[in-house]
Amino acid sequence: MRAFKQQAGLVAPLDRPNVDTDIIIPKQYLKSIKRTGFGINLFDQLRYVDEGWPGKPLEERELNSEFVLNQERYEGASVLLARVNFGCGSSREHAPWALDDYGFRVVIAPSFADIFYNNCFKNGLLPVVLPEGIVDRLFDEVAANPGYKIEVDLEAEQVILPNDESFAFEIDAFRKECLIKGLDDIGLTLESEPIIRAYEANRRQQSPWLFDVISPEKIS
């Protein structure tokens, strides 16, 4: 996984609460069996006026000029500023894949939905929780200052504004370490293989019925 240490970038504001993962990447794109290529369809229903589908040529798409990511001043943004409960709904990891593929490295919001929050860490995308009052202020500052950039320092757990003012955020130590080092989760867990084997042997003894092999031939 790509490591994340710090990121200084342009901030794009998405001013609506409860942005669900269907909004982040609509279902028609979930037919893909790949992890990449979702960026052009990020926020598809908000970004384009017409209905999109996989493989629809970009020149046939009609941009919604009012949507924030279509405004020139937010071109190249790598920090997404969002509202409460960002990423609610479906567990689709295609949501962080799409954000990442578009170029976002950080999402800042007052709160995230659990599954989305968790999925971000698997993809080198950093979700930052800041108090609602600070997020409100950031929305105001972004609106008032074209080219508004912030810096996010994961090591120091700080969001740093252009005037050097900074806000602390919190993150689990384990997740932080994985992100900073770009560690492979599975490899890490497999280091505990003996513990897992011992647990499993014990469980098999106590609840053998859980280990009956599932075979599709078994007739009901």
Partner: protein
């Protein structure tokens, strides 16, 4: 110390704990479908890894399958959309390559994973269950920690049989009192979400309890747990009781003989202890719950059928007011319109929330002897699995629907997420028994109203919402 049901199941599955509170949890059952698994299998291949315990996994295609009886007979070859066909084929290929059991497209046991798991006995009380799908919470109805995971975690569970996670806080939702006739499990859970909001359960494992939950069938409890995620909670659960054990008895993969006796001894301990401490408590009186209808684009935007569409001014915060205004605009509804005046273009009865046999029976009871309204373009009944479909046909329910002008389909997710051809057109209103009314969820520009199966069926007959408690059932 007195423990909650969640505490007990957590302790039972804890493999290792790290200093920062994250933990390795052992996973007993992993359910797999075509949409969130291809990238996980690809990851295994790239790393040269094998599944840890092949027998813990079970797969079936559901999200992307055709529910059209003719297209279905032709198997994958008849799937018109190429990307869908490749995705479905990829599931079969991955399962055969890794030796994972799969209920194939036209096997009677195929269906929506969350219907198939419990009905085959692949999910049993006391388990931990994961699936790359947020509605995995459904299985909690059997006294299980069941939660949705992302694709990276699907790969992680395949490779290690464990999930890295953190213990959730405990939330108790007590629904006491008795439901009025015509009010269902779906109405309970919609009322709960309306009360606590879509983030109300974030960070918590919810246990549903109280007289009204105990009175529900296991299928009803599944409808409730299914939508825990719509309240923000990854995990929803109900304690094991006699109904749970009766439900599990005799299913294809349920234990038999002495293993069964040992299992029920354990299962009978799966309830919160007297005096167990919950971090949060929510209480509802079942007798006050009316049939619910969602009017907005979030599952918390719900009213009783007798009410009017609210106004943004009815809400306190600015963010909420803007959200409601945007939702009403999207839905094409004006404040003050009676819910009963909302006209429907389509009806969808199905999804992992409401596609089990009791749901189909409830809809059939309403439909029997009536005709679909001429203004309703389509009313589809999509059973949750081949077994549900078969059972319904044994009872002659399919004929009731067809006689009324409703469509009787093949099992799958269908218009719940509209990945296949079953979808709403722009601006169309749908009475749907599914779980998400997000913008364009059921089709680009489509407008979803979440309701119970009986409410959806009645709306299909009259063309607008009615209070199903006033419905005259024909014998």
């Amino acid at each position: 110390m007195a423990q909650t049901l969640y505490d007990k199941l957590w302790a039972d599955h804890l493999v290792d704990e790290r200093a920062d509170g994250s933990a390795l949890i052992y996973i007993d059952r992993h359910l797999i479908h075509e949409v969130t698994s291809p990238q996980a299998f690809e990851g295994l291949r790239l790393a040269g890894r094998q599944p840890w315990r092949i027998g813990a996994n079970i797969a079936t295609p559901d999200h992307n399958v055709s529910t059209d009886p003719v297209e279905r007979q032709g198997g994958y070859a008849a799937v018109k959309d190429e990307t869908s066909r490749i995705q479905l084929q990829t599931l079969d290929d991955n399962c055969s390559q890794f030796g994972i059991a799969e209920f194939l497209l036209n096997d009677r046991r195929q269906g929506i994973v969350h219907v198939v798991g419990p009905e085959t006995g692949a999910v049993l009380p006391g388990m931990t269950v994961v699936c790359g799908d947020s509605h995995t919470s459904t299985h909690g109805a059997l006294g299980v920690i069941a939660q949705g995971i992302g694709t990276s975690e699907v790969e992680h569970v395949l490779a290690t049989q464990c999930l890295v996670t953190k213990k959730q806080k405990n939330m108790l939702i007590r629904v006491d009192g008795e439901l009025l006739p015509g009010v269902t499990a779906k109405d309970i859970v919609l009322a709960v979400i309306a009360k606590i909001g879509t983030a109300g359960g974030t960070g918590h494992a919810i246990e549903f309890a109280g007289a009204a939950i105990e009175a529900l069938s296991i299928e009803g409890r599944m409808s409730v747990c299914n939508m825990a995620i719509e309240a923000g909670a990854r995990v929803g659960m109900v304690a094991v009781d006699d109904k749970t054990i009766d439900y599990v008895r005799g299913r294809a993969f349920s234990p038999r003989g002495s293993a069964w006796d040992a299992a029920i001894t354990h299962w009978n301990t799966l309830h919160s202890d007297e005096g167990a401490i919950f971090d949060a408590l929510v209480e509802l009186d079942a007798s006050l719950i009316e049939p619910q209808v969602s009017w907005g684009t979030s599952p918390e935007m719900v009213s009783a059928v007798g009410e009017n569409v609210p106004s943004p001014d009815d809400f306190d915060s600015k963010v909420k007011q803007e959200g409601v205004a945007r939702a009403l605009d999207y839905m094409g509804l004006s404040s003050g319109t009676p819910i009963k005046d909302i006209r429907l273009d389509r009806v969808f009865i199905g999804s992992c929330t409401n596609s089990r046999i009791e749901d189909i029976r409830a809809a059939a009871a309403v439909v029997k002897g009536y005709q679909k309204a001429g203004s309703v373009k389509q009313a589809m009944i999509v059973p949750g699995s081949g077994q549900v479909k078969h059972q319904a046909e044994q009872e002659g329910l399919d004929k009731i629907f067809v006689a009324a002008g409703f469509e009787w389909r093949e099992p799958g997710c269908s218009m719940c997420l509209a990945m296949n051809a079953d979808k709403l057109g722009p601006g169309e209103h749908c009475a749907s028994t599914s779980n998400r009314n997000f913008e364009s969820r059921q089709g680009f520009g489509g407008r979803t109203h979440l309701v119970s199966p009986a409410m959806a069926a009645a709306a299909g007959i009259t063309g607008h919402f009615v209070d199903v408690r006033d419905w005259e059932m024909k014998a």
